[in-house]
């Protein structure tokens, strides 16, 4: 087979396959979040990991000092994984996607994604001034910070001039609860969902059979994709369990009161 014949064959195959695809008309819904898997997380180089670990340690240390003595009565085994995730999108129009964000107190994983242009994120708070996020191209940057209950933190872009142009926002920290929200994703009649109503952790029947949750950012509805569940016992507050055939059952709820899941298979 000559190169030209091969090229023709590739073109013909692709066109034939493309012609088989029927794309039904559909209205655009900006709130319909496509549940595509997030880009794979790259392994963090050791040095960067060490610096991040140090920043987290400093953030925890500072927060513990500021929080007050009663915090020290908490059990030593308190989890240090983030309880909330906050996704900040830097827009090319020199603003973040919102002027105000709300999150829960405790360790927060802040993720900064640039939707175009070079941007950054840092805090006004002197204790968090060392936190500086700078995404490279489409790769998001993340940092974990300890945010105190009831406080407002101002964030802004580190690029000169961007703050003056409006690239700043306030993170409001609620008074609690300190735990992550957990539960089943809400579904609408059309099968699509609004990501703003999602809990931080979504229950799953995957994993080794123990009650488990998937972190929102790891969640995907592509059936053949395995995910990386967090086990319920590792979470701060357990709000329920996944029961085979019935799905999520809240703590204290009678399992028999939850209707069985009817599975239907559709094709095409």
């Amino acid at each position: 087979m000559t190169m030209t014949e091969l090229e023709d064959r590739v073109g013909a195959t692709l066109r034939a396959k493309s012609d088989q695809v029927r794309v039904p008309d559909r209205e655009f819904d900006p709130d319909a979040v496509a549940l595509v898997p997030p880009a794979p997380r790259r392994r963090v180089p050791v040095l960067v990991a060490a610096v991040i670990a140090l920043l987290i340690a400093v953030a925890i240390g500072v927060a513990l000092v500021l929080v007050d003595q009663r915090e020290s009565t908490k059990p030593a085994g308190e989890p240090t994984r983030p309880v909330s995730q906050l996704r900040v999108i830097a827009l090319p129009s020199l603003s973040y996607q919102a002027k105000e964000f709300t999150t829960e107190p405790g360790l927060n994983e802040i993720e900064l994604v640039s939707a175009g242009g070079t941007h950054g994120l840092t805090f006004d708070d002197p204790a968090l001034r060392d936190v500086a996020l700078a995404p490279v191209a489409e790769k998001p940057a993340r940092a974990t910070v300890m945010l105190e209950a009831g406080r407002d933190y101002t964030i802004h872009c580190v690029i000169p001039g961007h703050r003056a142009a409006g690239m700043e926002a306030v993170i409001h920290v609620t008074d609690g609860p300190a735990g992550p929200t957990k539960g089943s994703p809400p579904t609408r009649d059309d099968g699509l969902t609004d990501i703003n109503t999602y809990p931080d952790y979504i229950e799953t029947t995957e994993g080794d059979g123990r009650p488990a949750y998937i972190k929102l950012l790891d969640y995907t509805n592509v059936p053949e994709q395995p995910s990386f569940p967090v086990y319920a016992e590792d979470l701060v507050t357990v709000v329920g369990h996944v029961v085979a055939g019935r799905g999520f059952v809240a703590l204290g709820q009678d399992t028999r009161s939850v209707p069985e899941i009817v599975t239907t298979t559709t094709t095409g």
Binding site: T13, L14, Q20, V23
Partner: protein, 158 residues
């Protein structure tokens, strides 16, 4: 309440959505090989366009770049996870399982190689345009197309 400039922007986006959606879904399908995933990737590409529509000069190019990169990311992750799983062929978009040597051989290529071939021989793009869509240098785009064809031929002559 929307002001008039909002309405103009919105109708501009709707026009792009109506005219580009089928093409974007098809391109995604040719790279990932799954219609369900292709639709999701296309939706994500349009959500990204919608978020910054006012500042995008070339919506068609933006969508192509977004969907090709999403498709490559998806296939990379998919490939990693499939190593641990038994896989089944997804039926073609018309519902039946079709045996097509060339299509199967395309599935064996790396995500970047397959995307390069789709952009070159389906979208009929130049190497410069492929480089722009894939975020690589022109020489890299040329090499990807060339190596993809060479690997494809090896796969077909097995």
């Amino acid at each position: 309440v929307t002001d008039s400039s909002d309405r103009v922007e919105r109708s501009g986006f709707d026009a792009v959505y109506a005219s580009e959606r089928a093409r974007v879904v098809r391109t995604a399908y040719l790279v990932v090989g799954s219609y369900a995933v292709a639709e999701e990737l296309a939706q994500e590409a349009f959500v990204r366009l919608h978020a910054q529509f006012a500042s995008v000069v070339n919506p068609g190019g933006f969508l192509r770049t977004a969907v090709v990169r999403l498709a490559i990311s998806w296939r990379r992750r998919d490939a990693r996870e499939r190593r641990h799983m038994a896989t089944a062929d997804e039926p073609g978009p018309t519902g039946e399982i079709v045996i097509d040597e060339t299509w199967d051989a395309l599935a064996a290529l790396s995500p970047e190689q397959r995307a390069a071939l789709v952009l070159r021989f389906y979208e009929d793009l130049s190497h410069e345009e492929i480089a722009a869509a894939m975020g690589c240098r022109v020489a890299t785009a040329r090499t990807r197309v060339h190596r993809a064809l060479a690997d494809l031929r090896k796969e077909l002559e097995r």
